[in-house]
Symmetry: C2
Subunit: 230 residues, 2 copies
């Protein structure tokens, strides 16, 4: 009878809980940089904006905290996480272990590779249009689709979380062109190796890719820190 908020369709769609939908909204805003790393998410502000109760919002917070997108400081509130250098190393350790193992043993039928090819096409379009935001999205999608080859829900979900965190890292860096542009060609090389059914080569190429990306991110983190300390 009330619920005049953005979520009034609850009764109709009723599939998912309100907290989950609020979580989706917040996750999207965080990934998009609308809530940048370090930002504080005030309860009252958001409950008003979304028209949900505090209890419901807090459940949504819990969800995102578990995904490491938010951190909870006791009696201070929720903040968008600011990944540090250790996080970068850890995220790339996961990527190296999981992604490389997946591509080495993945099935490589053309139908399965089609979604991956599509992300590369999208990347080329974004590059031509100089849409760096879209280029970054395409790059991330490439990796998401690649781990989907494993056909494992848990691995897919794991990587979705890892890549969401990585978006946070990218926001800290805030230079999508410089970071994503060089990797488009390398994505295509990896796809070619998969097309040939050469998992070992795809593994090798991907490992170097990840190692280079990690090094590049860490170097920039160190520079930033130096600036900040100065």
């Amino acid at each position: 009878m009330e619920s005049q908020g953005l979520l009034a369709d609850r009764a109709l769609l009723g599939r998912t809980s309100t907290a989950e939908r609020v979580g989706d909204i917040l996750r999207t805003r965080i990934s998009a940089g609308y809530f940048p790393p370090g930002a504080r998410l005030a309860e009252e502000e958001i409950t008003e904006a979304l028209g949900v109760s505090r209890n419901t919002l807090r459940e949504a917070f819990r969800l995102l905290t578990h995904e490491r997108l938010l951190i909870h400081e006791l009696n201070r509130g929720m903040f968008v996480r600011v990944p540090d250098v250790d996080d970068v190393h850890d995220l790339y350790a996961v990527r190296k272990h999981v992604q490389c193992s997946v591509v080495r043993t993945a099935p490589t039928s053309p139908e399965l590779l089609a979604p991956i090819a599509e992300t590369i096409r999208a990347g080329k379009v974004a590059l031509a249009e100089q849409n760096w935001q879209a280029l970054g999205t395409a790059d991330i999608s490439f990796h998401e689709e690649m781990v989907a080859l494993a056909g494992s829900d848990r691995i897919t979900e794991l990587m979705r979380g890892v890549l969401a965190e990585l978006r946070l890292v990218f926001h800290v860096m805030d230079n999508p062109r410089w970071f994503h542009e060089p990797y488009l060609a390398r994505n295509e090389e990896i796809l070619d190796a998969l097309r040939e059914g050469n998992g070992a080569r795809a593994d090798e190429l991907l490992y170097k890719y990840l190692d280079d990306a990690e090094r590049q991110l860490v170097e920039t983190y160190v520079l930033r820190r130096a600036e900040h300390v100065k």
Copy 2:
């Protein structure tokens, strides 16, 4: 001020939230089989037993739902998950990818291997005492310690979740001796390979181990299903 429940120390230890501690309690009970797969967790019953409010308990439920230990049926309540055959396949897919990749590249200094050796020793003690519960715990600890070699928080946490789910599978099977006993010797072989710094061999042994275990579990699931349908 009141809170005469089991969590009266809240104000003192204050480190973690009440919901997290409730989650820890429930997780322990589930892993121990006190709440077996399929059991329904009624809100009122548990709020009374632990002396916490519904909101607090629901936050704890959310945590465990995310760990896949509970499932939430909309408008019906929370239940301890009953993993099915697909879950078994998926869990072992994760294990093969992650654990094998880790052991192949893990550092193998004696200090790092010590905790792994300790789990094997504990397994032997359990076997001698015919304590099958302890044998299962030792087996799981072996794998937990092995992935810890990667030195990655996220991988450790991932595997903690996977192994917690696996405990659910074992409870469905409910025959710890038959399942864990044959693997103690194989654990030791893997450790020996690591001691020699032979990651490739450890990988190979572990892969066969996991493949055999998976097959064994799936076969039993199929049998159970046949019995149940009958």
